[in-house]
């Protein structure tokens, strides 16, 4: 994909690629705490059924995933594993931080063993607030991420500018972009 690397992809082709990418998101489920059950309800239950949005929640390993949902309390003991598995994911990759604990520490804001927000170790695209968020909130986060992917400049993303030198602000479900 030399065209993409040099950032000279024709617009119709970008649109087509982005459309395809946004509707075949393979989600790696990083279920940690209470939110994991709500994530299971969103991804594995007949009532919420995430597959109708074009999200496939069953990759065999992070190496096949486009999106990781960090759902639950990230402890200092768990943080190195999260970082390592995030680094195993191929670019372009996206992160949804689900629940107050993963966003900022949540009810354990003064605990000695909890990482106060997963954004300290990996870049986050979508924050889903709530303790735990309802499955609908997670689904909205997925839809917002799909909209972002559709408007993305693939060249910038594939050159790695999307992750390290973030051009776009993260989105908060139910709110505006945060400072």
């Amino acid at each position: 994909m030399g065209l993409v690397d040099r950032g000279r992809l024709p617009t119709p082709l970008t649109t087509l690629f982005n459309l395809g990418r946004s509707y075949s998101l393979w989600v790696y489920q990083w279920g940690l705490a209470c939110c994991a059950i709500e994530m299971g309800a969103a991804f594995g239950s007949p009532r919420y059924d995430v597959m109708r949005l074009g999200v496939i929640p069953l990759p065999a390993s992070p190496r096949q995933a486009d999106l990781v949902v960090i759902s639950g309390t990230v402890t200092d003991k768990m943080a190195p594993s999260i970082k390592r598995l995030y680094e195993q994911m191929p670019e372009p990759k996206y992160v949804i931080s689900m629940g107050s604990c993963a966003n900022c520490g949540g009810p354990y804001w003064d605990s000695y063993s909890v990482t106060k927000g997963v954004d300290q170790i990996i870049p986050v695209d979508i924050y889903v607030p709530g303790c735990p968020p309802r499955p609908e909130a997670l689904l909205e986060g997925v839809v917002l991420l799909q909209q972002r992917i559709k408007n993305e400049d693939m060249g910038a993303r594939w050159r790695g500018e999307g992750t390290h030198n973030r051009a776009t602000q993260p989105i908060v479900v139910g709110g505006g972009p945060i400072e």
Binding site: W30, S45, P46, K77
Partner: protein
């Protein structure tokens, strides 16, 4: 005669030496397998290190602590009403059941008793959280043995229970509904008839699961006779709840202790199973879910009228003292040892959670089993990581 014995011994030693040589040559000295911390079969982030000899486990060690959030320390800097919001999240599948023993301990110290109506509603919500907890176990059990359908059924029917809890308490997952001296609010209108319909659905779900899973030949052969825990060993390791009753010990805190909940007003059976294997543990949980729906039905019929809140001061200061209250939670015995020095918050809280003791038997029960059985035994022991690490 002695010559023969000596020759036998010598040949045995020679065979051993030959085996050892062969092992060195083929490098079959064993392997260490690391299950977790992120593994779909561990109900969270439990890490289990097993050392294998071929297909057999010779040594296993659970590595807990990936979900340690420092509960006991955090309770020291919270006030009494704030602690319920925290302890909801210990066993996150049956959240309401975590609040009850703590509130009961605080009430014991304050010498307040909740009005009868509050006690009955507490008991109803307690049993609903048990159903919400164990129904997910019944679905998840299938997934861990390779059947994916039951989990969809479990999530489908669990939603009904969560809707009930949400309509009564406002919280779908973490109600935070218990107050010292009673409950936050009374039940909403129409809740009782709706609950009765849902209980009927849940009994259907239990029948479905029984036909689909428990009657399945593969399911039975994966679980029967696997991971047998005798009653003596179960007692020594401090197992509680369904894991203990599956070993044939007739012990249930709902029936056996006098507590300010409405269990003495209802008629229910405590199921036990003599086998102590994985199948028995799963079967006990299925029967308990069904029994819980019957308890809820009985409680709904006889719910007394009146207030749901006793007279308590606006700012709660718990007098000096120590109290221990434990209840039969979905996973087993859960208790709080609360020490108060007369302040707004507890001085020290010791939390006895069921799963921590239930997984302490893992090194014992996994010794000598085959690798595929590791997953089924862990599934049948049924722990929740928040309940282990706190």
């Amino acid at each position: 005669m002695t010559d023969l014995v000596d020759r036998q011994k010598l040949s045995y030693i020679a065979a051993q030496a030959a085996d050892a040589r062969l092992n060195v040559e083929l490098e079959t000295e064993g392997m260490t397998l690391n299950i977790g911390p992120q593994h779909p079969a561990t109900h969270g982030t439990l890490r289990i290190i097993v050392r294998l000899d071929g297909e057999q486990v010779i040594w296993a060690e659970p590595g807990a602590g990936y979900m340690h959030r420092g509960y006991e320390k955090l309770t020291e800097v919270r006030t009494f009403p704030q602690v319920t919001a925290l302890v909801n999240r210990i066993d996150w599948l049956g959240s309401f059941a975590n609040e009850v023993p703590f509130i009961l301990a605080a009430e014991k110290l304050m010498e307040v008793e909740a009005p009868p109506r509050a006690q009955w509603i507490r008991t109803i919500l307690f049993e609903l959280s048990r159903i919400a907890n164990v129904s997910l176990f019944l679905g998840d059990l299938g997934v861990q043995l390779g059947a994916i359908t039951p989990v969809f059924m479990a999530f489908r029917d669990r939603e009904y229970v969560l809707n009930l809890i949400e309509s009564a308490t406002g919280g779908r997952f973490h109600p935070n509904f218990d107050r010292i001296g009673g409950l936050k609010e009374d039940l909403p209108a129409g809740w009782i008839t709706e609950t009765k319909q849902v209980m009927k659905k849940l009994r259907n779900f239990c029948d479905e699961i029984e036909n689909l899973l428990f009657g399945n030949e593969i399911f039975q052969s994966r679980l029967r006779g696997i991971g047998v825990i005798p009653a003596e060993v179960a007692k020594q390791y401090g197992l509680s709840g369904a894991n203990l009753r599956a070993s044939g010990v007739d012990w249930d805190l709902r029936r056996d202790q006098k507590i300010a909940l409405a269990y003495d007003k209802v008629d229910f059976k405590v199921w036990t199973h003599p086998d102590g294997d994985s199948f028995a543990r799963c079967w006990i949980r299925l029967q308990e879910t069904r029994e819980a729906t019957k308890i809820v039905d009985q409680l709904l019929d006889g719910i007394p009228s009146g207030s749901v809140m006793a007279k308590v001061p606006r700012i709660i200061k718990v007098p000096e003292g120590e109290a221990w209250v434990s209840t039969e939670n979905p996973l087993g015995e859960m208790g709080y040892y609360v020490v108060s020095k007369g302040d707004l918050g507890p001085f020290r809280v010791k939390i006895r959670s069921a799963s921590f003791n239930n997984i302490s038997i893992v090194p014992w029960v996994l010794r000598g089993v085959y690798v595929p059985d590791v997953i089924s035994i862990l599934a049948s022991l049924y722990f929740i990581l928040g309940d282990i690490d706190r």
